[in-house]
Every structure is written in structure tokens, then in C-alpha cells.
Subunit: 126 residues, 2 copies
């Protein structure tokens, strides 16, 4: 079974979804990501879906689950690279991606995470 | 035809190869990357092959070609995430990946690019 590689860059894990994930693949990705967050102490998970042409409720649920798992592990999940057509389909399907933050691309996603870290640093001065 | 997404982060383009590329896919990736380097003015291209289980002469040639194209466009290519078994196979096949720099993972690849930029800045003070 092919596994989706998880790239680490500083405090951020980057996942680029390019293959059609079935149930087993989704479970493997969730496990791998949870492991990676714990091992690396990452504060953010960025999931690039620019190669994903169709987002159905299955993928929507996967993204929400990954976001929930990461949140319990104190990492924020940001979905980036959504195609316009995918956004339209999501809304038509009534899927709101609740609890999942989005950004236009990887750079803006990383900027979002940095903003949050800065906000924390201000809130809790050391 | 599926296209491999190209992520941009600062001066660096990141490509994670997860699907088996055939001739058409390789040509498309080379074109997309050349376009992306020119459009973004990127100084580095990092190709993650951690999901690649078998590297044959076809893939080896693709990596070398991408590196050559990038070089003409003044961007350095670094291949990261090579599996141990892939490294062994490469050597056994007599493929040296000439002209392609490698690094253990994305972080070390980015560090390599930054070192180079720093070295340039020292060599050509402004």
C-alpha cells in the first residue's frame, strides 16, 4: 500500500495529497500524521490538496478528523491549495469543513501558523 | 492526466513525487517546474522522493534533466528523502545521479540552499 509522505520543515509538517485515498490509506495517513506530530513536536500540519480534483464527504471527513487529531496533539491543521471547482462542490454538497482552517497556498498557510505563534508569544510572555 | 503539484515556499519550490510517472507525466512535470521557476523566481527546487520505492534509469534521467533545466534557470535542485534501498539500487545500477545534489530530508535540503545563498552573499557583497 502506498503511503502519503509527510515532510517536516521546522515546526510544520507538510502533506501533499496526490493519490486517491481509500479507507485503508486514510487510516494510515491519520496514524502516520499523529505519530509524526508527536515525534517532531510540530505545531502545525499543512495539507495541500491542489492535486485533488474531487472532494466528497469522505475526503471532507478525513480532513476534519485529521484536524481534530492534530488539535488534541496541540497542532493546528491548515488545508491549502483548494481548487475553485472543489470549493464550489464543497458548498453545493453542504460540506463546510468545520474546524478546518484553509489558506490559498502553502506560503499563506505557513504565514497563518507563524501569526498564531506570534500571538501566543505575546499572550504568554516569557 | 494527473499532474504533480508544485508547492512554493519563499525562494524554494517543493515537489513530492508520489505517483508512478510515465513519459507524459515526466514531460509535464519538467514543463511545469520550468514554468514555476521562471514565474516565481525560485532559487531552489527540492524534489522529495521518499515515496518512491524503485528508482530506475528512467527516474534517474528525469532527476538529472530537471536539475539541468533548473540550473539553466539559475535554480539549484536538491533531491531529498531517498530510501536506503533506493540508494543501494542506484549504485548497483551504476547510476550516479550526476549533477544532482541530495540531502537526507526537506529540512537539510532547505538548509543547503540557504548555505549557498549565504555563501553567495559573502562572495558578492552589496
Amino acid at each position: 500500500m502506498e503511503r502519503v509522505p509527510i515532510l517536516k520543515l521546522g515546526d510544520v509538517l507538510i502533506v501533499s495529497i496526490q493519490i486517491d485515498l481509500q479507507d485503508q490509506g486514510v487510516l494510515a495517513l491519520q496514524e502516520d500524521l499523529a505519530d509524526a506530530v508527536v515525534e517532531s513536536g510540530a505545531r502545525g500540519v499543512i495539507i495541500d490538496i491542489s492535486a485533488v480534483e474531487i472532494v466528497d464527504s469522505f475526503i471532507g471527513r478525513m480532513l476534519a478528523t485529521i484536524a481534530s487529531i492534530s488539535r488534541v496533539l496541540d497542532a493546528e491543521t491548515i488545508v491549502v491549495g483548494m481548487r475553485p471547482a472543489v470549493a464550489i462542490t464543497l458548498v453545493e454538497l453542504g460540506l463546510s469543513l468545520g474546524g478546518v482552517r484553509t489558506a490559498l497556498n502553502l506560503e499563506k498557510g505557513v504565514a497563518l501558523l507563524e501569526d498564531r505563534d506570534n500571538a501566543r508569544a505575546v499572550a504568554v510572555p516569557r
